[in-house]
């Protein structure tokens, strides 16, 4: 089954812990297992050819060229061997056999495991319209994606970005800074509709417009028109043709859960896990973007979170569980997004909020939005307001009472607000 036709010794393809997915979650699981003294064999398998690397800079400093790839590596190359962590790049798991404790990869190889940590993340959702296959149509999920974009950019004058979520907006910001004309299409009536409140959406809309991005809300993509091979224009449902030499789709993630679901794991939009990261299958754990987990910060509902924080903290929970310290996953979600000179930091989950309190002045380019639900603080979005972000964490963790007058007063540090309100 191997390339040479020689079967490796039986032991070579069995690992006490097999981690599928070599992104933030998978890498952190391996690191934490070794930190906590796990002495068994550990393998880290991933689809991509690279050593584990940070994904957030792909739509920011790596796309812009500000950071070379080497500085994105989660650990230096020598680290993995020094820690006795076997890297298995360029392999995609196509099947899991929970009874036999094996996985099968796309090249037909079979790997045995004692414990399986599924950290496979997901794949960028692709456009499915006419012309979506044309050269010049991109997604932003992997280094290879961004390398392809960068290679084409010198010949590009106008880019159409599809999707007004964080990835699309970050890409738009970098492309504007690189001097490209950018048209951004969003189907909804506001940007960041899925992840933020109206005030934040309008602020970012105004900012991108001021930076010269042609933001089109309520815009529906009908198809991509090519010149035979490459993209030449984007056609909207109303018939408008927008010339473009590049199309960037930032339209979400498809969780990589197929093989586990096919093996009988509970789930749907991701793999369902309990608070300890256990799937419904024995000795199989799931973490990160693809893990549908119960969240205190979503009123106990099962949710997926696509963030470094979630991948890292879930990895630590599972690694602790496998080294004798079972702890439920309770870390407060946080996230960041850098666009132009704006640093957004968010803590908690604003989805489902029923009130939003503005703190500070958006015109001053430093403000926060405090989100409440059923009379309790559930989240904050902080723009160039790191102090609110760090001090506001306690408001979310403590689910303190929502007192709009107090929360809106930017002269009162949130630390003091937290102390005043946590009593109630």
């Amino acid at each position: 089954m191997s390339d040479t036709g020689v079967r490796p010794p039986a032991g070579e393809r069995h690992h006490d812990v097999l981690i599928v997915g070599a992104g933030h979650g998978g890498a952190q699981a391996a690191i934490t297992l070794r930190q906590r003294g796990h002495t068994g064999s550990i393998a880290l398998m991933g689809e991509e050819p690279e050593l584990p690397y940070e994904r957030p800079p792909l739509s920011k400093d790596y796309l812009s060229g500000a950071k070379p790839f080497e500085r994105l590596l989660i650990r230096p190359p020598a680290f993995w061997e020094a820690r006795g962590i076997t890297l298995l790049p360029r392999r995609r798991v196509v099947a899991v056999d929970p009874a036999a404790h094996t996985v099968t990869t796309d090249d037909g190889a079979i790997f045995g495991y004692g414990q399986l940590i599924w950290a496979a993340g997901g794949h960028a959702r692709r456009l499915d319209c006419v012309g979506a296959h044309l050269a010049g149509v991109h997604t932003v999920r992997t280094r290879a994606d961004v390398d392809r974009m960068r290679a084409e950019l010198p010949a590009v004058e106008q880019v159409v970005v599809v999707g007004g979520g964080y990835v699309g907006l970050e890409a738009a910001a970098v492309l504007r800074a690189a001097g490209k004309r950018v048209v951004l299409l969003e189907q909804q009536t506001r940007l960041l509709a899925r992840v933020a409140g109206e005030a934040l959406s309008r602020f970012y809309e105004a900012e991108h417009r001021a930076q010269g991005v042609d933001v089109r809300l309520g815009a529906r993509l009908d198809g991509i028109v090519g010149d035979g091979r490459r993209v030449a224009a984007v056609r909207l449902f109303d018939g408008e043709m927008i010339p473009a030499q590049m199309v960037v789709a930032g339209i979400g993630l498809v969780p990589a859960a197929g093989p586990l679901l096919a093996a009988g794991a509970e789930g749907g939009d991701g793999v369902k896990v309990d608070a300890y990261g256990h799937t419904s299958l024995p000795d199989i754990h799931a973490i990160g973007d693809c893990a549908l987990h119960p969240s205190t910060y979503a009123q106990g509902r099962y949710i997926r979170l696509e963030s470094v924080q979630n991948a890292t903290d879930m990895a630590i929970i599972v690694a602790k569980g496998l080294t004798g310290t079972a702890e439920p996953y309770r870390a407060v979600p946080w996230f960041w997004s850098n666009q132009y000179d704006l640093k957004l930091q968010t803590v908690g989950l604003s989805a489902g909020h029923d009130a939003a309190v503005l703190r500070g002045d958006p015109a001053a380019r430093s403000f926060s939005v405090v989100y409440c639900r059923a009379g309790r603080v559930v989240a904050l979005d902080c723009v160039n307001a790191a102090r609110d972000y760090t001090q506001g964490r306690a408001l979310v963790e403590g689910a303190v009472r929502c007192e709009p007058t107090l929360l809106a007063d930017a002269n009162i540090p949130l630390k003091e607000v937290a102390a005043l309100l946590s009593a109630g």
């Binding site: 930190q35 957030p56 020094a82 470094v308 924080q309 850098n338 790191a386």
Partner: protein, 100 residues
């Protein structure tokens, strides 16, 4: 290259040569110290690369804001991603702060 003494959370210290031009966070990572989560990758968006430095140096305003939320802050707290290493850092003593 500056020689920097690194004290890990178990209290043990080790002197290492670090590259200049990279951040202290990257220098620690490159030298195999793996206790820092450094979750945001060094863009000053979290406080998971918190260290104590001797001699002390003032944090930037933004860094100061992020440090204001940590439970283990001391006078010589810094975020290691905000220190770019130069030859002048020779002799620096760095202690990895406890996790929050």
């Amino acid at each position: 290259m500056p020689i920097i003494t690194v004290v890990t959370r178990d209290g043990t210290g080790r002197a290492v040569d670090m590259e200049t031009g990279v951040t202290l966070m990257e220098g620690l990572r490159d030298q195999g110290f793996d206790e820092l989560l450094a979750m945001c990758g060094g863009c000053c968006s979290c406080a998971t690369c918190h260290v104590y430095v001797e001699p002390a140096s003032p944090p930037t305003e933004e860094e100061d804001d992020l440090l204001s939320g940590t439970a283990h802050r001391r006078d010589n707290s810094r975020l290691s991603c905000q220190i770019t290493l130069t030859a002048d850092h020779d002799g620096l003593r760095v202690e990895i702060a406890p996790e929050d």
